[in-house]
């Protein structure tokens, strides 16, 4: 079984000569389906670059990026664009729903861009919205939705269809901690249904929803967490440190 995402010795250099910036240096990363990985690191550590490279929005300077086992270097630009629409879902900080489209039209936009008929796209879109418990608001416009419903619609758009890889850059934006937790619960639920998820965040509480936390510093992967024991270990220890 191939991994949903694999980065092999990925480096990214911006600029050249004295202004050269090494955003990523020899990064290896494997993300399996069903796994939620958080990327943490200080500003300028390369977190967002890693995400844009994983989403094929940017090319690497050296190294390989494989999405579902396919090396992006061997894929033509139009095919990369198709891959982005079909296999990869994105959740942005401010959700980026288009105001002129209804919730379900926002969700199905990547499918329709891919040439799927409006009717089939709507059915698939409603399915994704159903999973996120927001299908009853399908025909409302973003400004008629609450913040929580907009989040759900944005995540539905990211998982609609057969997407196997979900990429999120600071997906809780300016939400308070409880609503931010709501977003992480939804992302976790999506990955538990078999999607691979990568979340970039600088907040430890949000990262702690991930199965694995990978730490970046100055473009290098410097560390990662090991799989935590079950929650019962805390309760047995009396619950207090």
């Amino acid at each position: 079984m191939t991994s949903a995402l694999e980065l092999r010795q990925v480096s990214k250099i911006y600029g050249s000569g004295p202004t050269e910036v090494h955003a990523l240096v020899g990064v290896d990363l494997l993300v399996e389906r069903g796994e939620l990985v958080a990327i943490m690191g200080p500003s300028g550590s390369g977190k967002s670059t890693l995400l844009t490279i994983a989403g094929s929005l940017e090319n690497v300077t050296s190294g390989q990026v494989l999405v579902d086992g396919v090396d992006l270097a061997n894929v033509s630009r139009p095919d990369q664009a198709r891959m982005r629409r079909r296999s990869i879902g994105y959740v942005f900080q401010d959700f980026n729903l288009l105001p002129g489209l209804t919730a379900v039209e926002n969700v199905t936009l990547p499918l329709e861009l891919d040439g799927i008929s409006a009717k089939a796209a709507r059915a698939t879109g409603l399915e994704a919205m159903e999973e996120l418990d927001v299908a009853e608001h399908a025909d409302r416009y973003p400004d008629e939705l609450s913040g929580g419903e907009r989040q759900r619609a944005a995540i539905a758009r990211a998982i609609v269809g057969e997407r196997g890889l979900l990429l999120a850059d600071e997906p809780t934006g300016a939400l308070d901690s409880v609503n931010g937790e709501g977003v992480m619960r939804l992302l976790r639920a999506a990955t538990q249904r078999g999607v691979a998820g990568v979340v970039v965040t600088h907040e430890a509480q949000l990262a702690s929803w991930a199965d694995r936390v990978v730490f970046l510093r100055d473009g290098h992967v410097v560390d990662e967490t090991v799989a935590p024991p079950g929650p019962e270990s805390l309760l047995e220890a009396g619950g207090r440190q």
Binding site: V213, T225, P231, G238, R240
Partner: protein, 193 residues
């Protein structure tokens, strides 16, 4: 956790038997703080002695007694709820000391030390988050207890992050000249409450 006040709070809802108090205490603290029945009765005895609770009758087996809160008990509970807990940090925070010491030990990569602790704290946070994720959505007590731990731990991560930024802003951490500086912080920081 103040067991006496927690019991007073449970009794403020109405008279109860000891065993029921034990069950309710555990379920309402998200079962994070186990309490044995012996502790419950010892505490109730003390509360009764201090006039904060009373029983239906003074005689009989302890399990037969039903306890109720007195007016003095109500007042004590109301006052306790509004009394700020001690917020002054422990005099020597172990992690702070370790980081200060690490700055002085030759050939020690301070970033690596900070990262070891950051990872460790986040791994503990992952365990609390799993408790929350596995809990029923309406288990308010457990969510509140887990949140309290998570915010406390997150503050440690933020302190480590801030330490990292402060170190980066220095041109270079100066090696410590002999004689070695004291290993423990000697400056006292007074925090008024």
């Amino acid at each position: 956790m103040s067991v006496p006040h927690a019991l007073l709070a449970l009794l403020s809802e109405g008279p109860k038997y000891g065993l029921r108090l034990q069950n309710e205490f555990e379920s309402r603290t998200g079962e994070v703080w186990p309490l044995n029945v012996g502790q419950v009765y010892t505490t109730l005895q003390r509360l009764e002695r201090d006039g904060l609770v009373e029983t239906d009758d003074g005689e009989g087996e302890r399990s037969q007694k039903r306890y109720r809160i007195t007016r003095t008990g109500d007042r004590e509970l109301a006052e306790w709820l509004r009394t700020p807990p001690a917020l002054v940090p422990p005099p020597r925070d172990e992690l702070v000391i370790k980081v200060l010491v690490a700055l002085q030990v030759p050939e020690t990569d301070i970033h690596e030390i900070l990262q070891v602790h950051r990872r460790n704290v986040i791994e503990v946070m992952q365990r609390y988050t799993r408790v929350k994720a596995a809990a029923k959505e309406d288990d308010l007590a457990l969510a509140l207890v887990a949140d309290a731990e998570l915010f406390r731990l997150e503050a440690i991560v933020r302190w480590l992050d801030a330490a990292e930024v402060r170190l980066k802003q220095l041109p270079q951490v100066a090696p410590v000249a002999a004689p070695a500086a004291p290993l423990e912080p000697t400056r006292k920081m007074e925090v008024s409450q």
